[in-house]
């Protein structure tokens, strides 16, 4: 039977499994590795972890449901994650978030959706350059509402990241199966 994961990902998972005293200890990095490749962690992925790598679904789900930074539903290709903790909030993070969210919603309404979603997250640890934001794994400093809009526009022009492409392809394959 073909593996649910790519062969490179399988190798990564095996590496993590051997790294710690118990298999259970490797759940966090394994879930990150899956998320990096597939853009999110599906139920099927969790079940495949049990079937192919012997990690109990209960153990994996305990971890998965505890942390909010694992995506349990298919996301948009880019996530604008703006820090909403004290320093960033004092420097207008909530305005940045409101502007970005409104822009995304408007674009959706106008029939020209941007490949973005916007979340408020907790401290990103760069308080000196508040407000701070992440676009996927890229860090951006002093993200004013204007910069947020520019970031959305710039990233939208780029080619989609590999994980997002894989995510879209997987979803298309799944819906054609049904």
């Amino acid at each position: 039977m073909a593996s649910f994961f790519s062969s490179a990902l399988n190798e990564t998972i095996k590496g993590y499994l051997g790294r710690y005293e118990t298999k259970r200890s490797s759940i966090l990095p394994i879930l990150h590795a899956i998320q990096d490749e597939n853009d999110w962690i599906s139920k099927e992925a969790v079940q495949a972890l049990e079937a192919e790598h012997g990690l109990s679904v209960v153990d994996v789900n305990e971890v998965l449901s505890f942390y909010t930074m694992y995506r349990k539903t298919p996301p948009k290709p880019y996530r604008l994650e703006v820090c909403g903790s004290i320093s960033c909030w004092l420097n207008g993070a909530d305005k940045t978030i409101a502007t970005a969210k409104a822009h995304i919603a408007e674009a959706e309404k106008a029939g020209k959706p941007v490949p973005f979603e916007c979340h408020k997250v907790e401290c990103l640890g760069v308080c000196g350059y508040a407000p701070v934001a992440l676009v996927n794994k890229d860090r951006h400093l002093n993200v004013t509402p204007e910069l947020a809009l520019k970031l959305i526009a710039d990233y939208s022009k780029k080619d989609l990241p590999a994980a997002a492409k894989k995510c879209a392809a997987d979803l298309a394959a799944r819906s054609s199966k049904q």
Binding site: V58, N61, E62, S65, F66
Partner: protein, 493 residues
């Protein structure tokens, strides 16, 4: 370094092995430290933060379950700041607890309830709405889960991980949304599931077998031994003595036999004790007679036959005292040794063992019976699926001692229909099985809950049974019947 440490708890000195925790020392000393997540049969989690004690020299209160005892440590479990900590810990545990004690089956044996009566705050300061969570979840054939009542002590999760190693349960989500649960439709499927209802300190896990049947304060417990298999787990048997009705069994700690647990098969060992499952009076040729008349019929027959025309068929479900009384009385009355057979079920795999407690030998006293045979100089013949040895004995009188726990004898009906074929079969047992109807004489006997006696488990540990008042007062134990028989035959000599 010495491998013993001496500490003092509430100014009482106690010596424990090095590496013991304050909790263990307190238990040894008999000082009760309130706790939820700590269980002597499971690993330490330290999650409930309830077992706070004051340790001299430490700036803050410590949890007794996970603080190692050290030499010269001075522990205080009764001061006002310890009590205050307990009070507030309970207040926090109750933030999202529904407080539905009047309709909760755990009420009366709930640790949350008990501790609250002792050290509760009584006037809650919580103003926010309680978080609502799934209730009455079907998590297996034996259990119902109410996640609102759960205080997340994780005893059940650790039990699944450490004892049965099935890992069916987990804590999902976090904060006030955290719930105990199974993964989708993977239910709890193993032979030790009722232990989860036992170790649950609150009413989150309740046993389907017991819920809504009886309030726990109507039940009285008897310390006895489970007759379900040759392990002989120590149990508490719960009876509503007003109703003469048995409701359940729970394990009783014995480090040498069963530890803290018992299996689900053993939990059903109350069903055959109740009146509806039992033969109330002797039946001679299908007619109800008094036990006096029944024993007279046996005495008369015994007088007219020689020892080699009497067969005794034994199952290993009676006490040592029963076997001794039977064999020695018969030997005296017959002036010789009758033919002895041991009846085992056809399907029995006596050497099976599930790795935890449950054994393939479904008889509680195989070892004890063999010991009595040796002592009485009897060499029995095995009847296992093949009853030709009994038929060829051509006995005039056959005394059969049927199994009390019929679940261990799935081929009972088949065996009984073979026993009916022999001349004058006397069946000691409570079976209501159709195939037993044509027996010459059927004698009801006391069940394990009503007898005083000894079972010897697979490992040679002899354990005493403790007698409750019988459900049917006229019904006697095998040893009592044989004492009567012996008296009657001497009187008529």
């Amino acid at each position: 370094m010495s491998n013993q440490v001496t500490l003092s708890i509430n100014n009482q000195s106690i010596t424990v092995p090095a590496g013991s925790t304050i909790m263990e020392a307190a238990q040894k000393l008999g000082v009760s430290v309130p706790h939820f997540c700590w269980h002597p049969g499971l690993s330490i989690a330290g999650v409930c933060r309830f077992c706070m004690v004051k340790v001299e020299g430490m700036p803050k209160l410590q949890i007794a379950c996970n603080t190692p005892a050290t030499e010269g440590m001075k522990v205080d479990t009764v001061s006002s700041d310890v009590k205050d900590a307990h009070k507030w810990a309970l207040e926090f545990h109750l933030i999202n607890h529904p407080l539905d004690c009047p309709i909760c089956d755990q009420a009366g044996e709930c640790e949350l309830q008990n501790y609250y009566m002792k050290v509760g705050k009584y006037q809650s300061q919580m103003e926010d709405e309680k978080v609502l969570k799934p209730k009455a979840l079907d998590v297996g054939d034996t259990l119902v889960l109410d996640t609102e009542r759960c205080i997340l002590c994780s005893r059940c999760v650790r039990f699944e991980d450490e004892v049965t190693k099935t890992s069916t349960l987990g804590i999902f989500n976090r904060g006030d949304q955290a719930t105990i649960g199974t993964y989708q439709d993977r239910k709890i499927k193993h032979n030790y599931s009722y232990n989860l209802a036992d170790i649950c300190p609150v009413g989150a896990f309740t046993a389907k077998d017991f819920r809504f049947k009886c309030r726990v304060w109507f039940l009285k417990e008897t310390k006895t031994v489970c007759p379900g298999c040759s392990t002989g787990c120590n149990v508490n048997l719960f009876q509503n003595s007003n109703q003469r009705e048995y409701y359940r069994l729970k394990p009783r700690h014995n480090a040498d036999v069963n530890g803290h647990w018992m299996c689900d098969t053993g939990r059903t060992m109350y069903e055959h004790l109740n009146a509806s499952a039992r033969l109330p009076a002797p039946l001679l040729n299908g007619e109800t007679v008094s036990s006096q008349a029944a024993l007279q019929a046996v005495t008369d027959t015994l007088k007219s036959v020689s020892a080699d025309k009497v067969a005794v068929v034994l199952t290993a479900q009676f006490t040592n005292e029963d076997y001794k009384a039977t064999l020695s009385t018969l030997k005296t009355l017959l002036k010789g040794t009758p033919k002895v057979f041991v009846w085992r079920d056809e399907s029995e795999k006596a050497e099976d063992f599930d790795g935890i407690l449950f054994r393939g030998d479904r008889n509680p006293n195989t070892r004890g019976m063999m010991d009595v045979f040796k002592e009485q100089g009897v060499s029995p013949v095995m009847l296992k699926g093949d009853f030709s040895a009994l038929a060829s004995a051509a006995a005039e009188l056959t005394l059969i001692f049927g199994p009390e726990v019929e679940a261990g004898y799935p081929n009972l009906g088949k065996a009984l229909s073979r026993f009916v074929e022999v001349k004058k079969a006397v069946y000691f047992g409570n079976t209501l099985n159709e195939s037993a109807k044509k027996m010459w004489l059927r004698m009801p006997v006391k069940v394990f809950a009503e007898k005083s006696g000894t079972f010897v488990n697979f490992n040679g540990v002899a354990q005493k049974l403790k007698a409750n008042p019988p459900v049917f007062t006229a019904v006697k134990g095998v040893d009592e019947y044989f004492a009567d028989l012996s008296k009657m035959s001497q009187a008529t000599l």
